[in-house]
């Protein structure tokens, strides 16, 4: 509390300041609210100081970072997507994306913890009863429990409706238990989750032949007594302690190595009807609406990865000297860095716009969500590849984080729908208007 007339002392702050001038604030006509900016900045400090230093080890050991999960829980980051009435912070989709982006900037695996907690809770958010939300959301919001989203099967990836995991009533009556049988594959955090949102076939008749990809949805053959493809699935919450549920194996992956990707087995798992989410046959619709809201979370992960790689590459180019000059002074390097920055910002702005439109209930939510994931995923792949190029041989070894970021980026072109499926969704929205 000294006089303001004193000269400034060259003192060192006790800990790094929260303001990080190296990280550009996304400037746009769509300004973040004060709350959004404050929450983003708080998550950035947490990510830079507590998560970033762990990222290389998380990747090397390929172990789920329980300490990071605890950190995110204790600072209410995991409560962001949940309504205030159930112990959450009631953050909108854009705010959740801002947090995923900041965490993924330093560690894509850690960013996925929040993204998956949000995405797998969406079926309950969209179709759950108040009772179900009351039962599960407070623990999920506090990070005491984790939840996974189990839609994909070995033979049902992009073609979701061809799922084979079945659920049949045990007995008659509306309240009868269900018996689940089948398996799910590529389930993010499936082996560490306490709850699994599982999509299972509840139609008794055999499925139609799938329509050719890219073709408009074929109307069911008029004479056939089959249940339409989009009415065959129902969503259930399976609890990890239910007899018959098992983690069959955990995949060895190229990237996001600390995020366990599991194959899950369901052998006659008895599930009470109280764990059914939405109406019987509503599962496909719930899954599609979930993806409309969850793809921006993955786009945010991708933007974060790209931003992280850009920052490493720019810092390296300033430090690294060849031919007596920092390589940042060479125009070929400058052009790469400039393109990386411009592309990352373009992907970021499309993401923020998409999140805002989806939150506002835009009728073309599927288009916005597919577009932002498509652009962000491809941008992350390109920018991280170029970041490795800027670092040259040093970019290819694990002494620097860009090779990890390049491996992590690849998944953003694959999950929550491949880039090909995103284009299909966008093209359908476009041509359906004609």
């Amino acid at each position: 509390m000294a006089s303001s007339t004193s000269p400034p002392e060259p003192s060192t702050p006790a800990r790094p300041s929260s303001a990080s001038p190296a990280t550009p604030t996304p400037a746009s006509t769509y300004r973040l609210t004060e709350d959004q900016a404050a929450l983003r900045d708080a998550v950035r400090v947490l990510a830079d100081e507590q998560i970033g230093p762990r990222a290389a080890e998380i990747d090397r050991t390929a172990e789920f970072p329980w300490d990071v999960k605890e950190l995110l829980a204790s600072h209410d980051v995991l409560s962001l997507p949940f309504p205030e009435a159930y112990g959450g912070l009631g953050g909108d989709l854009l705010t959740v994306c801002l947090a995923v982006e900041q965490i993924s900037r330093v560690c894509a695996t850690s960013g996925l913890i929040l993204a998956v907690q949000e995405l797998a809770s969406l079926p309950l958010m969209l179709a759950g009863t108040d009772e179900q939300k009351q039962r599960w959301f407070p623990d999920l919001a506090a990070g005491r429990t984790l939840i996974a989203f189990a839609l994909t099967e070995a033979e049902a990836g992009s073609d979701v409706a061809s799922a084979r995991t079945r659920a049949r009533r045990d007995g008659t009556g509306d309240g009868a238990d269900w018996i689940l049988d089948g398996s799910k594959r590529f389930i993010s955090q499936g082996s560490v989750a306490d709850l699994i949102a599982v999509f299972a076939v509840t139609a008794d008749d055999p499925p139609d032949a799938p329509p050719a990809p890219g073709a408009p949805d074929a109307a069911p053959a008029p004479a056939a007594p089959t249940t339409p493809r989009h009415k065959r699935l129902t969503c259930f919450i399976v609890e990890k302690d239910m007899p018959g549920f098992s983690v069959e194996r955990v995949e060895h992956k190229m990237g996001i190595r600390g995020s366990p990707t599991a194959e899950l087995g369901f052998r006659n798992v008895r599930v009470p009807d109280a764990n059914r989410v939405g109406a019987v046959g509503e599962g496909f619709s719930i899954a599609m609406r979930t993806l409309d809201r969850s793809r921006p979370g993955i786009a945010a992960q991708a933007v974060g990865i790209a931003q992280g790689a850009l920052e490493v590459a720019a810092a390296y180019a300033i430090e690294r000297k060849q031919f007596g000059r920092p390589i940042a002074e060479f125009q070929m390097i400058q052009a790469m860095l400039a393109d990386m920055d411009a592309q990352t910002e373009a992907a970021r702005q499309l993401l923020y716009k998409a999140a805002t439109e989806i939150e506002a209930g835009a009728p073309d939510a599927a288009r916005w969500s597919a577009m932002c994931k498509l652009v962000a995923g491809d941008t992350a792949m390109r920018v991280t590849t170029d970041a490795v190029q800027v670092l040259g041989g040093y970019g290819y070894i694990d002494e620097f984080p860009v090779e990890r970021m390049m491996r992590d980026a690849k998944i953003t072109q694959l999950y929550e729908g491949t880039q090909q499926i995103q284009r299909l969704v966008i093209a359908r929205a476009l041509t359906a208007r004609r």
Binding site: M1, S4, P16, S17, A19, P21, D35, L39, D76
Partner: protein, 263 residues
């Protein structure tokens, strides 16, 4: 327990933008992003831990410019319940004496068991304001605390004061003023809920006229110190680094010093 923590917004040294105004050599505060003085965050953390253990609440008191509420919100986000900010154009250019008088005036009429302050600030670095406040209010002054143990039933507080040889154990009746040190523990990160909650916490702004000062005069006009000029330190001369094994390095260092008749 009710604990007052004295906090000051200071220029963010990480911004690299600190500069003095060329006309009066005062810090150009509006031009520089502000943060909570780091040592004050340690004091706040200590206060929060004490109220978590003994109950009660922490309130902030600050004297600063009109932009201070944004910075004080960050301290509220860590867990303080409310804050009082004294801000007035007439206070520009205040010295440590004025600052102590204003803070003491702001504390008058407030109820508290303890006042905690950081050891010094990263801008002025004088480190005398807490002692001034304690003197003006007649409070026991317990400096350089590495440990704080209040006994609310007995109405006393015990402090381990860091000394050159270890520490001294001091005990004083409450209310008392304690200067915190970094030995008390790292400041917490504000939780997201804390940030959201801070927006609706009470931050009372007072003008100089609202603060009881008696006959004392304060502000830049009566400052007892004045900066007459400022110069950057001369650039450091070229450095010679000796990278030899210890024996050889020692020999070269001795030769270097002997050559210049330093030893």
């Amino acid at each position: 327990m009710r604990i007052v923590v004295l906090v000051k917004p200071v220029p963010d040294t990480a911004s690299g933008g600190e500069r003095l105004r060329p006309d009066d050599w005062r810090l150009d505060r509006p031009a520089i992003p502000a943060v909570v003085n780091a040592n004050d965050e340690y004091a706040l953390e200590a206060a929060l831990k004490l109220t978590e253990a003994h109950g009660g609440e922490v309130v902030l008191v600050s004297m600063a410019g009109a932009g201070a509420p944004d910075t004080m919100r960050k301290a509220l986000a860590m867990g303080a319940a409310s804050g009082t900010l004294v801000t007035d154009d007439a206070l520009a250019g205040s010295d440590t004496v004025s600052t102590a008088r204003v803070l003491a005036g702001a504390l008058e009429g407030m109820e508290y068991d303890l006042v905690l302050a950081g050891a010094d600030t990263s801008d002025g670095g004088a480190g005398v304001v807490p002692a001034g406040v304690a003197t003006l209010l007649g409070l026991p002054y317990l400096s350089y605390a590495a440990k704080i143990e209040p006994d609310p039933d007995a109405g006393t507080v015990r402090v381990n004061r860091i000394s050159p040889t270890g520490y001294e154990v001091l005990e004083a009746p409450m209310p008392a003023l304690i200067v915190a040190t970094q030995a008390l523990g790292e400041p917490r990160y504000p939780s997201l809920k804390g940030i959201m909650a801070a927006r609706s916490k009470t931050l009372e702004t007072k003008a100089l006229a609202d603060v009881p000062l008696g006959d004392a005069e304060v502000g830049g006009a009566v400052a007892t110190s004045k900066v007459l000029g400022s110069e950057a330190p001369p650039p450091r001369a070229a450095t010679r680094v000796i990278r030899e094994p210890a024996d050889e390095a020692a020999r070269q260092v001795v030769a270097f010093l002997a050559e210049r008749r330093i030893i």
